[in-house]
Amino acid sequence: MNPARKRTVRLTVALSAAVVLASALIYTSFSAASPALSPSQLTHQAQPGRSYQVTGSVVAGSVHHDGSILDFSVEDRTGGTTVPVVYTGTVPDPFREGREVIVTVRKQGGRFLGERDSLITKCPSKYKTAPPAASSGGSGGPKSGY
């Protein structure tokens, strides 16, 4: 085989392999992904057995520890629909009532089982200070993070 033809064959094989691998990546990402829903969307759309990523605020007075099980409810950012979650696994330090959390859940009966160690607490926004009354530049307060 002449060198030019050899190079073409090699390039074709390499590109075909790349296309196959990229297709696998794209297919598995769509099939393995958990839809991100708000609590109100979750109550309407959730099907048993499928996992969803729910984002909402922890409802005040809903947090209860029972051994290693953590019960809490999340509600839409704007309030309204609440969803009860039964969770086991690592609880991030910033987790508390009123804080925005993201947790992967599966529907079981009327409740949602949180996947182990899937609870994420968003970076605390409590550091957002009230807008200064007489600011000499800029607006809004600083937020913390790295």
């Binding site: 696994g89 968003k122 200070t129």
Partner: protein, 724 residues
């Protein structure tokens, strides 16, 4: 002070605009004095931003709560060490740090190239000042660090307790140094394309900066992992969080570039690939900065309510479009000078290593931005979790480690059978011996971990063999003792042997990752005083509770009002192993609505992890004490009702009473125990790797001698000219 800071920013913006204009005018008209002036504008920018940064740092150290940034991220009770670090904990302060570091690194590279690459450097100056101008504009128009409030509040809200960890003092500056250094090869790459000088000269001029970017970014990532492990209370060091991924992506492409540039230097190949990698690395660094500030993806590290998305998206779009246009329009100049002679050659292995690194970067990019991709295609945001990332990254990491063992010993151009036999027998024997030993020890149930151990053994075998042969050759020639020969070997070829040490470090790091993730024992449960539990081979007993109050007694010196914890006795087969003291710090919320006592502990609660770290395993413990018992709540309720807000000393007395009540009658506490083998080797591997990186970056004695010789002969020539 704030006025001075704002004046500095306006002046810095003017300097950037002038410098861009001067550099471009100079290079387009061939008037080098204008290009020189543009370069000096970068030095001026560094000076001005140094003053601005000093102003903000002084404001933090002096508790000047008139500055909104100081009031928002510091307080009078924040320990001084963390006040200094709080400068970059806010959006505004971190932008200033970014711009300041960019100006310093830009000044250094332009100083070092002041007599070389005049056209390329002039364009690079304009690009670097463009980045500088962008970040200064953000601070002038969107998020100024020098915004003030009058009258100033009496105190600030304090630094997020989660950020009160020693590594946070150096993690962000390291990461930002890495990001800003990534823009230097990008600027010179664009400069080379614009000036149509795409030989290896611009790569040689910025190679050390690309290495420095890799080095600092790597240290930043490792320190972040260490912080996550020691501070976040979940016992992990990597969670595929978008912000973590954002820093890893440019590091991967920089690693690929550092390998492939050797092929361009030696054989004039991969020019287009190299310039594309440089442009991708710089763009990914900007995207990493953007991810933290845009709020487009949920991350525990992102700045809350960030609003800088539009300017960043515009910058990234311009960068991507310009990069594609430049590479496509200069494709004829970027044609390779040679072709691969054989698939079994060092060039091919380096190319394979590049493909794996870029594939890893692509996988991580896809997974990180998948919520946006999914929303664009299906109208529904969805995200992939750590198992999806692991499915692809684990096999790719295995191939990468294996290639890092093959690369150093395979021949350039074409490997023969004799070459293969000579170089691969010993490493393969080491890998086979490792496999037999692991199976003999009954560790065979985790195939990926076993494969990683064998690949790492292969790397140690191949790199060890290179060192052994080098030392043996030097001993034969110079009759030196082995340690002297080893030092001389490394000193004489820092880049090559520094690179080998990096390979050893990375293999060691991957052994730590594979072992700790595959053979970990974890337990989360509630224990009362005197109870014990088994975690792996260890028995952990809750001996007694602990309680400390006021920042003064806080063992971790992070400013917690109250720390509740436990003394744990760790034994293995009845033999004492360690005494651990995990605790949880409760911080002042500064919110009077929580009551005169309640606010003292109403803020963030943060785990202070306690662990027994060793070379074979870590025993990691965290505690979540229950302070919601009726007895403890009663203390707070009575305190809130009877103690006025204006008597904080009495409020603290109530907290002390609460601590005593907790000690006398401790409720059941939640514990998180993890026994992970070989975690220490992640940090050791990282340390070895970056020590190797430092050796590789350090100028070789011959280079230094050559520079001194060039300088002295230039001086001599000048004086001869003057005399004449």
């Amino acid at each position: 002070m704030a006025l001075l800071g704002r004046a500095c920013l306006l002046l810095a913006l003017a300097v950037c605009v002038y410098g861009i204009g001067a550099s471009l005018y100079g290079v387009r008209t061939g008037r080098s004095e204008w290009s020189e002036s543009g370069r000096r504008a970068v030095y001026a920018l560094a000076g001005i931003l140094t003053v601005a940064f000093a102003v903000l740092e002084i404001a933090f150290l002096r508790d000047d709560f008139g500055f909104n940034t100081v009031a928002g991220t510091s307080s009078s009770t924040t320990p001084t060490f963390y006040k200094a670090a709080a400068v970059w904990s806010s959006q505004e302060g971190s932008l200033l740090l970014w711009a300041w570091l960019l100006s310093l690194w830009s000044s250094l590279v332009l100083f070092l190239t002041r007599r070389r690459l005049r056209d390329v450097a002039a364009y690079a100056t304009a690009v670097l000042l463009g980045f500088g101008g962008f970040f200064v504009s953000l601070m002038v128009f969107y998020a100024t660090p020098f915004a003030t409030t009058s009258p100033a509040p009496a105190d600030g809200v304090g630094l997020d307790p989660l950020l009160r960890h020693p590594s946070m003092m150096i993690h962000p500056p390291m990461l930002y140094s890495g990001y800003t250094l990534c823009t230097i090869p990008l600027a010179f790459g664009i400069g080379a394309l614009l000036a149509r000088r795409v030989d290896a000269e611009w790569i040689r001029a910025t190679r050390r900066f690309a290495f420095a970017a890799w080095f600092f970014l790597g240290i930043g990532i490792l320190l972040g992992a260490r912080w996550s492990y020691a501070e976040l209370g979940w016992g992990g060091y990597w969670g595929w969080d978008p912000v973590e991924n954002a820093s890893l992506m440019p590091w991967l492409t920089a690693t690929a570039f550092l390998h492939s540039l050797m092929i361009q230097e030696k054989r004039g190949m991969l020019k287009m690939w190299n310039v594309s990698l440089v442009l991708a690395t710089g763009t990914l660094a900007i995207m990493g900065t953007f991810l933290v500030r845009s709020g487009i993806l949920s991350s525990i590290h992102a700045f809350g309510g960030a609003t800088l998305g539009v300017p960043f998206v515009t910058l990234i779009a311009v960068l991507v479009a310009a990069s594609i246009y430049l590479v496509v329009s200069r494709r004829d100049m970027l044609r390779t000078e040679h072709r691969l002679d054989s698939l079994l050659s060092r060039e091919s292995i380096f190319l394979a290593n590049n493909i794996v690194l870029v594939a890893l970067c692509f996988v991580i990019f896809w997974g990180t931005y998948f919520p946006l991709i999914s929303e664009a295609f299906t109208g529904q945001a969805a995200s992939v979790g750590p198992p999806w990332f692991d499915r692809y990254t684990v096999p790719l990491a295995l191939v990468l480690v294996l290639l890092s063992g093959i690369g150093p010993v395979i021949a350039w151009r074409r490997a023969t059978l004799a070459n293969a036999r000579k170089n691969f027998v010993a490493p393969l024997l080491v890998a086979a011996a490792t496999l037999i030993a692991l199976i003999g020890a009954g560790i065979g149930a985790k195939p990926f971990a076993i494969a990683m151990f064998c690949c790492a053994a292969f790397v140690l075998g191949s790199v060890g063999q290179e060192f052994f042969r080098g030392v043996r050759a030097r001993r034969a020639m110079a009759r030196e003792p082995a340690p002297t020969a080893l030092m001389a070997l490394i000193r004489r070829n820092r880049r090559r042997y520094g690179g080998y040490i990096v390979h050893i470090g990375m293999a060691t790091l991957f052994v730590g990752v594979a072992a700790s993730s595959s053979f970990q024992h974890a337990s989360e449960l509630g224990l009362s005083r005197g109870q014990s539990t088994k975690v792996g081979a260890y028995t952990i007993r809750y001996v007694r509770p602990t309680a400390t109050i006021t920042p003064k007694d806080d063992r971790a010196h992070t400013g917690a009002t109250l720390s509740l914890g436990a003394v744990l006795d760790v034994t293995k087969r009845g033999r004492h192993v360690a005494t651990l003291r995990p605790s949880e710090g409760f911080y002042d919320s500064g919110d009077p609505s929580q009551g005169s006592v309640g606010h003292f502990i109403g803020g963030q609660a943060v785990s202070h992890v306690s662990m027994s770290a060793g070379v074979t395993r870590d025993v990691w413990t965290a505690i979540a004490p229950d302070i919601s018992t009726p007895q403890l709540k009663r203390v707070i309720d009575i305190g809130n009702k009877t103690i006025p807000l204006v008597r904080p000393d009495e409020g603290l007395l109530a907290i002390a009473y609460m601590a005593r009540a907790y000690l006398q009658n401790p409720p059941q506490a939640q514990f998180h125990f993890i026994v992970s083998p070989l975690v220490m080797w992640i940090w050791i591997g990282g340390f070895i790797g970056f020590a190797g990186g430092l050796i590789a970056i350090w100028p070789a004695p011959s280079t230094v001698r050559r520079r001194v010789a060039v300088r002295s002969s230039a001086r001599a020539a000048r004086s001869r000219l003057q005399r004449a």
